[in-house]
């Protein structure tokens, strides 16, 4: 018999198995810790930092920190909400996220989490970078304006279907998503709309064509319930309007 070890999240004792991270333990216990780059089934990235928690008083990323017996973890404090709020605002600052005009509105995790954290409007000076849209592919658009560099598509392409369809290129604020094609054109990759790499995108960067507004805004997955509730429901699939409908 395996002895169960425990960590405490906001004074709730939850079990974990050796080798698990705080995020995994919380997930298994049905406790939501905000995240954008973490996805069960993909390798851990640890880049978005939305899962910032207090571990024995120190800030750590829940997705990269191994769970260890005796950890006192804070997840829901006002201080953390403020820190996470600034983090998510920074993602809006660096890209061009025009939620009211975005096809992904209501099924975008960035938007859903921003609402969840109490962000109602952009209130910081934005970079407004010049970014492009690659509409060359028959089935899928890449809209670089919306990319948050979470590398979910990169990891899905590397780890699930081995397509190596994407990579993050460049450095610093110039970091950008590139398709694996010398021409630089998305059309020249072997990717399909049904590939894991496309489905992995939590925002509207990789957007399947030919289905625009198939579900009206207002009736989409994150329009129905806040993401912190939905994400812990049975059968939840991120940004899938048909999944987990209760």
């Amino acid at each position: 018999m395996v002895t169960e070890e425990q960590i405490s999240i906001d004074s709730v004792e939850i079990p974990f198995h050796a080798g698990e991270t705080i995020m995994q333990a919380a997930y298994n216990a049905g406790i939501y810790i905000p995240h954008l780059c973490y996805r069960p089934g993909l390798s851990v990235h640890g880049s978005c930092r939305m899962c910032l928690v207090h571990v024995n008083g120190h800030e750590k990323a829940a997705c990269t920190t191994p769970a260890a017996t005796g950890q006192q973890i804070g997840n829901c404090s006002e201080a953390l909400r403020q820190q996470r709020l600034l983090l998510i605002k920074m993602l809006f600052v660096e890209g061009n996220h025009i939620c009211p005009a975005c096809e992904q509105s209501g099924r975008c995790e960035l938007q859903a989490l921003a609402y969840d954290l109490g962000m109602t409007a952009p209130d910081l000076p934005h970079f407004q970078p010049k970014r492009t849209v690659d509409a060359s592919h028959q089935e899928v658009n890449i809209d670089h304006n919306r990319c948050i560099a979470c590398a979910q598509c990169v990891r899905a392409g590397d780890e699930i279907d081995g397509s190596h369809a994407f990579a993050l290129s460049g450095r610093g604020i110039q970091t950008r998503l590139i398709p694996n094609a010398p021409s630089g054109r998305f059309a020249d990759t072997a990717i399909h709309a049904s590939d894991a790499a496309v489905a992995a995108c939590p925002v509207g960067t990789l957007l399947p064509k030919h289905r625009g507004f198939n579900i009206p805004i207002g009736q989409r997955i994150y329009d129905r319930k806040p993401i912190h509730k939905l994400a812990m429901e049975k059968g939840y699939i991120h940004h899938d309007d048909t999944a987990g409908k209760s």
Binding site: G46, S47, L52, Q83, A121, P125, L168, P179, N180
Partner: protein
């Protein structure tokens, strides 16, 4: 199509090692081969066109995207055409203080080209680079593998004339490229040269256990800045069971204002390699790598010569010093302009032919490093000191310094002082003592340990520099009373924004936001809300970033706000409310 692969010198693709790692057996890929291949291709073509990357991808059997991603990551690789004379002006604050910006504008004017643009005929392009390791003899210029320290207007005119005459930089006068060592207080590392092999002799006489104990008793802590006890690191690597162990010397000296490793690599390469060899014996490593920053490419011929001599003398290679089974060799991996690769796990990623993104830690390199194998990564100065300690015994080293920081440290002193250069001083030396030594006593501020370190004001000049007090990483930049502290801080924020790897949100975005705010502050176009945001960003980067770079990127701001508050206040327009800021600005009624 250009034929890159055939033109690549094979020893730089395949490295000094004949047998490839198991992990890469099926590929033409070993440690550092991607960097070497891209350097070779760029040396031939001047930049890296898509076709060349495609060819390299096929040759190395890597996805094309991995090649492009790496090429776009490193500052010295160009995925767009640059001039046949591509001129980098070192852009450290000390270069700026010595007039680098005016020199650069002068050169642009002389050659008829704007910064960061390619002249129409494709001959010339001019841009800025992060500190190239010449802070004691700036302003400095880097062209290809050539460094020109102490550049003046007259020299710029001479350079421009040679470019107009189409003289390749390889044929420019060597006297322009003479890098001085500027040893002001040499200390044990420079004062007493060792006969090559002395430490190896001792090693074999005393055995690995005793030598490791010697390092431990010396109290030596890593001299790259983090200060991890060296003996602990070696012991951890040694006791981790694995099919291979590695030793890496971190010569990616990128912290602005530091140049001590440059001088060690120039004058004492044998001591560095001997320290690595001793480490290899203790941890059981067969292979070592010297990760040399791209700016120091000019040193490679001498470093290679030193390695060759040591191989011939039986101090590298198989059966070192005649001892069967003591096999170890060292290969140089040349970086390509990325400060983050000084972070040990990013350095390892870079050697593994990827972008230099720091890994999730733990596991730490002594447990899981290069190719997932236990790896010691130590700084140049640390390895040199190991050699010294093995020869002298631990007592001499431990007799200097403080309780928590044993030994003597090389300080790279630059900026507003009479005698910039290398100063060996024990840990615990105060800022004032160092200022007196270098002739910079009228300083109003000193930046310790580079951009990531501490901006110290006069009231703290009597504090000692040691791991337990003021940071003592080695860089010591002096700012006289005439300097604008905001410009100092702004230059560091510009540095971090330029050098952030871009992996995590707080550092990728926070450094750029902070850079922009500092620019507004200097232009007096800032608001109270800007200042609040600046503080919030610095605080958030410190606690939320993925690695040490991001965690320290807010330091210049936090130190500035606490020690130089007056500099920030007068520039704030209380009644200036930017349009975009609808929540956090308090508009006076």
């Amino acid at each position: 199509m250009v034929d890159i692969v055939d033109s690549m010198p094979s020893e730089r693709i395949h490295g000094a090692f004949d047998d490839t790692d198991t992990i890469t057996q099926t590929r033409n890929l070993t440690a550092g081969s991607l960097l070497a291949a891209m350097h070779a291709a760029q040396d031939k073509l001047g930049w890296l066109p898509v076709d060349s990357l495609k060819e390299l991808a096929e040759h190395l059997q890597l996805p094309f995207s991995q090649l492009l991603a790496a090429a776009e990551f490193y500052s010295f690789f160009h995925t767009h055409p640059v001039g046949r004379w591509h001129i980098f002006f070192s852009d450290n604050i000390t270069d700026r203080m010595a007039g680098s910006e005016a020199l650069m504008q002068h050169m642009c004017q002389r050659l008829g080209v704007a910064p960061d643009e390619l002249r129409e005929d494709g001959a010339v392009s001019i841009s800025r680079a992060s500190c190239i390791g010449m802070a004691d003899q700036g302003p400095a210029v880097l062209i290809g593998k050539h460094i020109f320290p102490g550049v003046t207007i007259a020299r710029i005119d001479e350079m421009a004339a040679l470019i107009k005459q189409r003289v390749p930089v390889d044929n420019w006068p060597l006297s322009w490229q003479s890098v001085q060592s500027n040893l002001r207080i040499p200390g044990a590392l420079f004062e007493r040269p060792i006969a090559p092999g002395m430490a190896i002799e001792r090693l074999l006489a005393h055995g690995a256990d005793n030598i490791l104990r010697m390092i431990e008793n010396s109290g030596l802590r890593g001299m790259g800045g983090a200060g991890f006890p060296t003996a602990n690191k070696w012991a951890m690597c040694r006791t981790t069971d694995a099919s291979a162990h590695y030793v890496i010397c971190n010569a990616d000296e990128g912290e602005p204002g530091t140049f001590k490793d440059r001088v060690l690599l120039t004058l004492r390469p044998g001591m560095i390699f001997e320290g690595m060899t001793a480490c290899a014996y203790i941890v059981g490593a067969k292979r070592g790598y010297l990760y040399l920053r791209g700016e120091y490419a000019y040193m490679i011929p001498e470093l290679e010569r030193c390695l060759r001599n040591r191989r011939q003398a039986g101090m590298l290679g198989e059966s070192i010093a005649g001892l069967r089974g003591f096999d170890f060799d060292i290969e140089i991996v040349l970086g390509a302009g990325a400060y983050i690769c000084g972070e040990e796990s990013a350095l390892i990623e870079s050697i593994e032919n990827k972008r230099g993104i720091p890994r999730i830690r733990p596991p730490y390199p002594p447990v899981s490093g290069l190719w997932g194998m236990p790896t010691v990564v130590n700084n140049v100065e640390t390895f040199a000191n190991c050699t010294r300690i093995i020869i002298d015994g631990p007592e001499e080293f431990a007799s200097q310094g403080t309780q928590g920081s044993k030994g003597s440290k090389l300080f790279s002193i630059s900026g507003d002082c009479a005698r910039p250069g290398i100063y060996a001083m024990p840990y615990g030396t105060t800022v004032t003592e160092a200022l007196v030594a270098c002739g910079g006593s009228d300083a109003c501020a000193v930046q310790l340990s580079g951009a990531a370190g501490a901006l110290v004001s006069r009231i703290n000049f009597d504090q000692p520099m040691a791991f337990e007090s003021l940071p003592a990483g080695g860089s010591f930049m002096v700012f006289g009373p005439q300097r604008n502290i905001l410009e100092v801080i702004a230059s560091f924020m510009q540095f971090f924004a330029h050098e952030s790897c871009g992996f995590c949100t707080p550092c990728r975005v926070g450094t750029e936001m902070s850079r922009q705010i500092m620019e507004r502050l200097i232009a007096k176009k800032s608001s109270r809300a800007d200042l609040e945001l600046l503080t919030q960003l610095a605080d958030l980067m410190k606690v939320a970033s993925h690695c040490g770079l991001g965690q320290s990127a807010g330091n210049p701001i936090l130190h500035g706000l606490s020690s130089f508050k007056d500099w920030f206040d007068p520039d704030i327009k209380e009644d200036f409310a930017p349009m975009a800021n609808i929540h956090s600005v308090k508009v006076p009624l």
